[in-house]
């Protein structure tokens, strides 16, 4: 098991590049741009799909495709990952470059941030070097206006030689014009005259020597000026891709290598770093000039408000406390706010159960069928819905709010030093934030980390963040054992502290395990790291609420229905098919009992975690069902009843804490493991990703239970 490029970055991503030409008459359009400029928002508006968007760089990590019609044509839009450059110093950049260059799109839309044009022009100019068929989409015009940044779009279009369309993707402004421009460029109605950068004399001379040969050799299949530039600057990654694309190795051609050698000699001893400096400077300086000529800032300090906010949110004194405070407020709102709706939903759903029971009795249905459908499936489902939906419906909008504001990169900024000390990547904090939603998504999100070593660390440790399948389990246990016990406002305050403690523990374990991995199997030093802190943007509160409830909460519900209902069925069967005196479930639990005891759990709980492998959502329901099938069956229509059920099965506060700890630290769910396998391309790393959290959980639970017993705390 070594870190090969196959098992980590490029190997995985490369598969996603293909030429993408489908039916004739269909146009393929690449959507390129810096990170966080609204590409996915544009993609969603045009295609009606729902790629996730968020105010932090790196939200989209793989090419997504979608279709739309405009005029008499069908367009396939490809949302490629955001990059600052096409120099291919990271996997995403390579994917982006390869798609623009070799994916043969009929047009490339470069989306640029109107509030930060100078830097965005870098990518625009680089794209113009590769392809003629470009449309520049200047997005976030609303933000630019708010900051009183004036941009002369006409002049910019003249200078660049391609259409420039101003848009505000979130409100849809300018999108019709954008589609029109894409259409015109794709069908060739608009002939573009893209700006060609004039480089330093030395570079131009070298170009003159090499380019004609390359032009002859490639027959115009690729942009020979650009390829020559890349060869002069000694970009080796492009040569491999070119070889694949053209079917032969350019460097095997005597003429080309000969010319290249003499061209290099003509550079007067400037090495490839030096040549690259000149080339990049050429681009950057051109961008600066264009920016000066087309943009006027009414207020020079247009982003002073952002700086003021940053000086608090990331300050030495307040940075970390504010971060913890925000987390606390979100958790508190989630815990305190979810209580009441939970009770209402539970009352409603269990009322329906009564109706169902009446119906089954009336219809004279056999006892086993009733037990299977109502006591098994329906009850599990009802439990999952009433306990999980409310906290999710509160937590996700709040979290999305922070995300859209642009706070997540600030978290990464605040915590980076800890990750640095653990020899891990600062962007790991971002992948952890994604893990809150879903660990599988977090694992995919690790693609924003370029270094294969650090990316693996982030993948292996992502499971220490409680995902939306485990989060409600934690909340339920806290609500049952703490919130319900400590009265009033104080109760939710203590609950919040406990939940924060769990999450902070998850972060601490992540750092610790990352540090251990960095010193053992994934030895190495931190790689270079740059993180953009994007401008704060005003979130669309209503859209966030609607989206979070529809997308996230209903998604969780759907998954619960899909997994919990059949699981309920299986568990009911396990609990009711008897071998000898005991049910199958009890046999399993009895077998696990001795080991589970060591961890502060019991056999049924451990069994529930094992059966819960496909989806963590069902762990609590399984525990409850197992207890109900073994003990006296009672109506489970309130948290208090639930507490009594657990207590009557020997739960103490140690059990509750141990379940929470084990929930935080055990094997990743089936989907996550499958994703890890796909992302790393290696069974070995998948196994390690399974073992690391599992062993950590076992060690921590065992130690905790030992200490509690030794100190006679229980």
């Amino acid at each position: 098991m070594v870190l090969t490029s196959r098992s980590t970055g490029p190997g995985v991503l490369r598969n996603s590049i293909n030429t993408g030409h489908e039916a004739a008459g269909t146009f393929t359009i690449a959507l390129a741009g810096n990170p966080n400029v609204g590409k996915s928002t544009i993609f969603n508006s045009l295609t009606g799909l729902r790629q996730h968007t968020g105010n932090w760089p790196g939200k989209t990590v793989a090419n997504a495709r979608g279709k739309y019609r405009y005029g008499d044509r069908e367009f396939i839009l490809v949302d490629i990952p955001g990059t600052y450059s096409l120099s291919a110093s990271s996997v995403e950049e390579e994917v982006a470059r390869d798609f623009i260059c070799f994916g043969e799109p009929d047009a490339t839309v470069v989306v640029a941030d109107a509030t930060c044009l100078e830097r965005n022009l870098n990518l625009v100019l680089q794209t113009l070097e590769i392809t003629d068929r470009v449309v520049v989409c200047l997005n976030l015009m609303d933000e630019a206006e708010r900051k009183h940044i004036r941009i002369d779009l006409k002049k910019l279009a003249e200078k660049l030689g391609v259409p420039v369309i101003g848009t505000s993707a979130r409100s849809g402004r300018g999108l019709p014009e954008l589609m029109e421009a894409i259409y015109s460029v794709a069908v060739g109605r608009i002939k573009t005259k893209p700006l060609r950068i004039t480089y330093d004399d030395i570079i131009e001379k070298a170009l003159k020597r090499v380019e004609p040969y390359l032009f002859n050799l490639t027959g115009g299949k690729v942009n020979s000026r650009w390829v020559s530039l890349k060869m002069i600057e000694g970009d080796s990654s492009i040569l491999n891709t070119l070889q694949e694309y053209l079917g032969y190795d350019l460097l095997k051609d005597r003429d080309v290598t000969g010319e290249l050698r003499s061209a290099r000699q003509g550079l007067w001893g400037i090495n490839s770093d030096g040549a690259r400096d000149m080339i990049v400077s050429g681009i950057v300086n051109t961008a600066e000039n264009i920016f000066r000529d087309t943009v006027s800032l009414e207020h020079r300090d247009y982003n002073s408000l952002d700086r003021k906010i940053d000086s608090i949110l990331t300050s030495r004194i307040y940075g970390i406390p504010v971060m913890i405070g925000l987390l606390g407020v979100i958790f508190w709102l989630t815990l305190a706010g979810a209580n009441y709706p939970s009770e209402v939903i539970a009352a409603f759903l269990f009322h329906i159960e009564d109706l169902l029971t009446a119906f089954f009795t009336w219809a004279g249905a056999p006892q086993w069928l009733y037990g299977l459908l109502v006591r098994g499936m329906y009850r599990t489902l009802a439990w999952v819905v009433s306990v999980m939906l409310p906290p999710m419906a509160i937590f996700f909008p709040l979290f999305t709010l922070l995300e859209d504001l642009g706070y997540l990169p600030r978290i990464a900024f605040n915590l980076d030093n800890f990750f640095n000390k653990a020899c891990a990547h600062g962007k790991q904090a971002l992948t952890m934030c994604m893990g809150f939603g879903c660990n599988a998504a977090g694992v995919v999100g690790c693609r924003i980390i370029d270094s294969p070593r650090e990316r693996l660390i982030a993948i292996i440790t992502n499971n220490f963040v409680p995902c939306n399948g485990r989060f409600p389990t934690l909340i339920a246990i806290i609500a049952i054992f703490i919130g319900g016990r400590v009265p009033g406002v104080f109760g939710s305050f203590v609950s919040t502290l406990v939940l924060m403690g769990i999450v902070v523990l998850g972060v601490a374990v992540t750092l610790l395990v990352s540090a251990i991995l960095s010193r053992t199997v994934l030895r190495g030093v931190p790689s270079s790291f740059t993180l953009e802190l994007p401008p704060y943007r005003r979130p669309q509160v209503w859209r966030i609420i609607v989206r979070s409830v529809l997308d996230r909460a209903l998604f969780v519900l759907g998954r619960a229905a899909a997994v919990a209902a059949p699981a309920g069925l299986i568990i009911w069967l396990l609990a009711n098919i008897k071998i000898g005196e005991y049910s199958l479930l009890s046999h399993g639990a009895l077998f696990l009992e001795p080991f589970a005891r060591l961890l502060g759990l019991d056999g049924y709980i451990l069994m529930a975690f094992i059966i819960g492998f496909p989806a963590n959502e069902i762990v609590m329901p399984i525990i409850i069902m197992s207890y109900m099938s073994t003990g006296s069956i009672l109506e489970l229509d309130s948290l208090e009843a639930l507490r009594q059920l657990l207590v009557s099965h020997g739960w103490t506060w140690l059990t509750a804490v141990s379940v929470m700890l084990f929930s935080l630290m055990h094997w990743p769910c089936g989907t996550t493991l499958w994703t890890i396998r796909k992302e790393t391309g290696s069974a070995g790393w998948t196994l390690i990703s399974f073992l690391v959290p599992t062993l950590t959980g076992i060690i921590i639970c065992f130690t905790f239970a030992r200490v509690v017993h030794l100190l006679r705390l229980i």
Partner: protein, 82 residues
Amino acid sequence: MEAGYITLNMAPSGSTAKVKGLTSNGNIRRRMLDLGLVMNTDVEVLQKSPSGDPTAYHIRGAVIALRSEEASKILVEINPIV
């Protein structure tokens, strides 16, 4: 290195400095260039993160955080205060 230049990580918060050279090479150098850190680019030092590293810089209209490891490979000259 030439006299009068310091590395970017030494530049105090609030100051503005001009890039005078990069001492990194390969990929890291390329990444710095992509950020727009070419010769004579103005960089404003914004603030350090709570634990002192990384530091946020204002570079060509964007706010970028660099670890001191990277910043120590950027030679700058502090601009006089106007």
